[in-house]
Subunit: 229 residues, 2 copies
């Protein structure tokens, strides 16, 4: 009987892991499409992306429910408990990343075609960095690789550095050509969304470190292991 | 013996509730100060605010730890379980709201003094709406008032409506006077931060509804109660 329950418990955990991975993959895809649409000024692709985040919202609700169910019916401890509580938090970051992908796409639709400019390239570079960070954070989650996760968190600085270049860049364009204000402010928004995408990837990476090591690396504090007393 | 454990458990839950409330009050105060600094163009107050969010970061880590501890050592079910998992998620929104307050203050410092304009008033109005939403969401959390929480979530639309007025407003200013680009883009950023503050308050409010009713109101789905089977 105990064995049977153990197997059920294992399979619930496995289902949870699969759903989180599916949600991660779906969000990655949405972000990839939104950034592609931006890079290629592809309004049709952007439009498609906007309509595509329903599945993400459903997955978030489903994962939350699964977590609560496991917490209520089993008594997970140690690494299982950290995995479940991490999943609860992680889906929030994933869901908001999906929203940001939609926001990027909305701005791409509004932009339509716009002239080539250094700011566009700058944002594309930020985008591919942020995408890489999310991919590696999710990889680290799958493989339980705390070192990889920690490296992701450190890459956030490169995105922030590019983001800081963006404002004077766009400011100069707007001052030189007041007609460019409409498109420049939209580029600014996209830059901001991408910067936040990188922040969400960082949050996820930090949670992976916590999940694997039982150590809290947020805000520079280290917190002793819990759930193993 | 059982009674003793029950009392300990109750006191752990009480501590958790207190810490969450303290964190909420601290974040509210920080946001209040940042918005005051913006309204009165008070660079000194803004500067003070920037240095004040360490306590919030500490509280987040402490609350997460408390939640994990209770989940690991007790077997909370039903409303207690929902309260604990909600706390785990809620602190993320509170912490990011604190970060946004700091971001507002940073832009206020950069702005220094700037001329009166309708956009400034518009953002102040958004700010007081967002502040009210957070206050009411936290009140609803304390009193377990799902109706009040639901009303908060509905108020997010008013903030979004003001936010939409902001962009054409600032766009017109920048086109008319290219010298205003520096300050107008900062006002735009502050508008965006305030809009996100309202989003976080909405998230918290939706979690309160879930905590009280065991119903998921996010994304327009209703999800059956869990943790009571």
């Amino acid at each position: 009987m105990q064995k049977h329950t153990d197997r059920e418990y294992e399979s619930e955990l496995e289902t949870l892991r699969e759903r989180v991975l599916l949600m991660g993959a779906t969000v990655e895809q949405l972000i990839g499409a939104a950034l592609d649409a931006f890079e290629r000024r592809d309004v049709a692709l952007a439009q498609q992306t906007i309509e595509n985040d329903d599945q993400i919202d459903h997955l978030e609700v489903e994962i939350d429910r699964l977590c609560l169910r496991i917490l209520a019916l089993r008594q997970p401890v140690a690494s299982d408990l950290r995995f479940i509580t991490m999943s609860l938090k992680l889906v929030t970051d994933l869901e908001r990343s999906g929203d940001l992908a939609v926001n990027v796409s909305e701005r791409v639709v509004e932009l339509g075609s716009f002239p080539s400019m250094p700011a566009h390239e700058l944002i594309c570079r930020m985008g591919s960095l942020a995408q890489g960070m999310l991919r590696d954070a999710l990889d680290a989650f799958v493989t339980g690789d705390a070192l990889k996760a920690q490296a992701v968190a450190e890459r956030d600085n490169s995105v922030d550095a590019l983001y800081e270049q963006l404002f004077p860049e766009l400011g100069a364009i707007m001052r030189a050509d007041p007609e460019s204000v409409e498109s420049a402010t939209r580029l600014q928004s996209i830059g901001k969304y991408v910067e936040r995408l990188a922040d969400h990837a960082t949050n996820i990476a930090e949670m992976v470190v916590f999940m694997v090591r039982g150590q809290d690396v947020r805000h520079g504090f280290e917190v002793a292991r819990v759930g193993r007393r």
